[in-house]
Symmetry: C4
């Protein structure tokens, strides 16, 4: 019994790591993505509604079978949940299994199915590496984001106190003001729709906007340069150490050779002295 089980697990493991299996999964993910996209074309969908529904169920079942295979191929179930990407896949697959027949829940079910496209990221190793690299760079950016948030908050409060009477929609409270400031930071209609109407009531409003833009640009540029230099410094130090090690070993060997020479000479000197004596 246990042997049969073992054989099955080995077979599943071979299946899981087979190139064709991976390609099939990727193809099904792409099909599922196209299905989601097709559903956004309302008119066309109504005609093929039956086909769509059938395909939807087929994709859901395939994903379920696939994840069960990958779970069964693992020596212990615990090993499966040890990898972050497996948990990610498991959540996406199970989320789309929850039965939501209620007409109100249909939208949520649809939204959950969209996230199946993300399984493409967990299936392609290069994308997985890219995402890992992105996550690594988050802490480096954390404090800069905090600093920028503080600047947005202060300017938001200032703007809300000063300009609330000019345009309630743009400066009505601190949340609206911060959204307006984000619009200004992206340079979208910042002059024609935000600055000039404000300057009609407060002619010196340009000081507020220009200091905000300069402060933002200044911090952003410095952060960019800082990150580039930071990463570079670490890497060039690593290279330096590596190439330095080879040379250091060579130099060390040379010094040992010279020390041996000295010992030999000392022996010879002793010989000579004895001869003389």
């Amino acid at each position: 019994m246990s042997d049969t089980f073992e054989t099955w697990r080995d077979r599943l493991e071979r299946l899981r790591s087979h190139k064709a299996f991976e390609l099939t999964v990727i193809t099904i993910i792409v099909v599922s993505a196209l299905l989601i996209g097709a559903k956004t074309y309302e008119e066309e969908v109504s005609r093929f509604q039956a086909v769509m529904l059938w395909l939807d169920v087929a994709v859901t079942v395939f994903f379920l079978v696939e994840i069960l295979i990958r779970m069964a191929a693992e020596r212990r179930l615990r090993d499966f949940f040890r990898k972050g990407w497996n948990i990610f896949d498991f959540l996406i697959v199970t989320a789309s299994l929850i039965p939501m027949d209620d007409s109100e829940m249909v939208l949520l079910a649809r939204l959950l199915r969209i996230f199946r496209v993300l399984r493409l990221v967990s299936m392609i190793p290069e994308l997985r590496m890219l995402i890992a690299a992105l996550f690594k760079s988050i802490p480096r950016m954390g404090y800069v984001v905090l600093l920028m948030f503080i600047i947005f908050y202060i300017y938001g409060a200032l703007g809300s106190f000063l300009f609330a009477s000019v345009d309630e929609k743009l400066w009505g409270n601190i949340s609206l003001a911060m959204l307006t400031l984000f619009q200004v930071a992206t340079f979208e209609s910042w002059a024609t729709a935000v600055l000039y109407p404000t300057m009609e009531h407060y002619p010196y409003a340009w000081i507020y906007f220009l200091t905000f833009i300069f402060l933002n640009a200044f911090i952003f540029l410095n952060m960019m340069i800082g990150i580039v230099l930071d990463v570079m410094q670490k890497e060039s130090l690593a290279i330096e150490l590596e190439s330095g090690e080879g040379e250091a070993a060579e130099l060390h060997g040379l010094r040992d050779d010279v020390r041996e020479l000295r010992d030999q000479l000392s022996r010879m000197e002793a010989l000579l002295e004895r001869q003389r004596g």
Copy 2:
């Protein structure tokens, strides 16, 4: 008496450098920031006005006590004012103490309280380091900013002389013209709202705008590249020197060894010559 005083100072010093104290201060700053933000929601505020006022006073008193503790914990008061960040905290706290009951002064009092959020920067060491790094990069950017200002001034004067008749609001005088040029530099409606209306009167106006944009982009890009390379060069030189020093020491030691060998050989040669003689 003096001993009691000493003991008190030590206690305050321990309190000041306690992690829980720092966390409390940061929490109060965040509360004070939320309070400022909440005040921008006019309707809600009127309901809780009494609570708001009470909280405001509480925060002000807390900040006063906190800065007094930090001053008392110092051996001499002079030491407290030696650190730039302490002066910064002191100014922010005292500014919010000035009594401004006058209805006209209320706005100013509010604005001053907003700057309390900046105390977050002085409390978190990582943000303090970030700000210090930003200040260091100012002189490097100074001359580039001056050069850009000269270009803005010349184009502003040109634009004001040439296009004042086209749109008094955009090109009326050199200040307005420079503001318009800043709008053009951020690419905000530069073509639809500035270039095309001008080209209806002056068909060759595009030369003015395109040269301005290219000049700006060219200087800006070169400045960015220049700064990155400048900082990098310094750092890679520093790394080079450091890693070079270790090797240089190794080489120096090796040379000393070889010189010792020579001395030993010279002694042996003398012995041999004497033997022969």
Copy 3:
């Protein structure tokens, strides 16, 4: 007969590699480009239509003759088609030879002639190198583009499901939604024309837009930094290896010298021992 042929080919080869020939070709390409540009000025063209037509035929004939010369100058015709740029030139020249007298085909014929300007790229070696460098950087960018497409697709599907009722033109189906998202990614009227109208129906729409913008900016910045560092690392490693090799050779030579010294000393020691014995 064969000799005459050989002489002819040599003459054509000398002609092809002559500086004046290259300059003539470049001049004719520029003339052909100006001709295409001139045709866009409808009124003027009608006056000089006969001249235009004559010039057009002349340019076509010249390009045909030029490519025939370059083909004849080659030892074997196969060699001509071995270079990518030759195939590129051949396709452009032959495409404009297809007779398209049909009034409907005139537009296509015109469009094909525009691509003759691209022959400037294949004629100037510096531009050819630039294009080659651009092609080399495509694979490095491939996976990032795929990742960004996945993000656009997911946000497009989400936006189409959520906001289709708000503005059919912007969010009607996934294609329109992705185009709208591209507009948002370029910050063009993203707040005034897309975000604010959507927020009137869905007040929390800003979460959708802000996460999209931050995600995009974050991936884009990381990609840029990644590429710069990647290329740099490779180059600095290459430099390191090169400069390291010289030193390593020097160190190696030194070690050989020291070993020779040891051999010499061993011989001397043997001599001394024999003297003593």
Copy 4:
């Protein structure tokens, strides 16, 4: 007579290189710049017209005297014109001397006077260096600009042929089309004012615009990265060579020491052999 002349030249030379003289010149340039700016405020100017005119003449005379002093301080007049910045100053000063009383010429005279502000660049050494660095980077960017111009030209011709019927103002001829494309490249109203109106007639116009934007962004980014890497590579090679030289000298010295050792040993070996013989 000649001696008096010599003394005068020496005095002028000392004057020219005096710090106070330079500061005076810079002050007068700033005053002249403020004068130009003030003239753009029409109403104010009419009141102080007499003062303005007097100041204008004073500044012109000062600049004339200053350049004459600098010319006289030179050993030979030819030496003065050898420096590019001197020619630059000379042209700016003489251009504002041309009498233009004609009411039509007044505008030109005004424009010429604006360029006096540029003398600030020639007076401040740091700005002079910055400009020199900018000029050096021009050739590196030349071919990329040419490549981008070719792309603009081809897309301009295509756009003019395809979309001229949609909007005569935007796509009427190749010049207008290239200007529209520049607007698209800066992302200014590219979707709302250019893409969407065109898509109403040509639903596939998005292919034209998206390929254009991607091509531009791709070339621009690669150029930026290319320039950064190019400059960096040169500098890191220079640093490498410099630091490498010190070490190479040390290694060379060490090898000489070891060779001396060998010579000494050979002499000793000869001694020993003779003893034995």
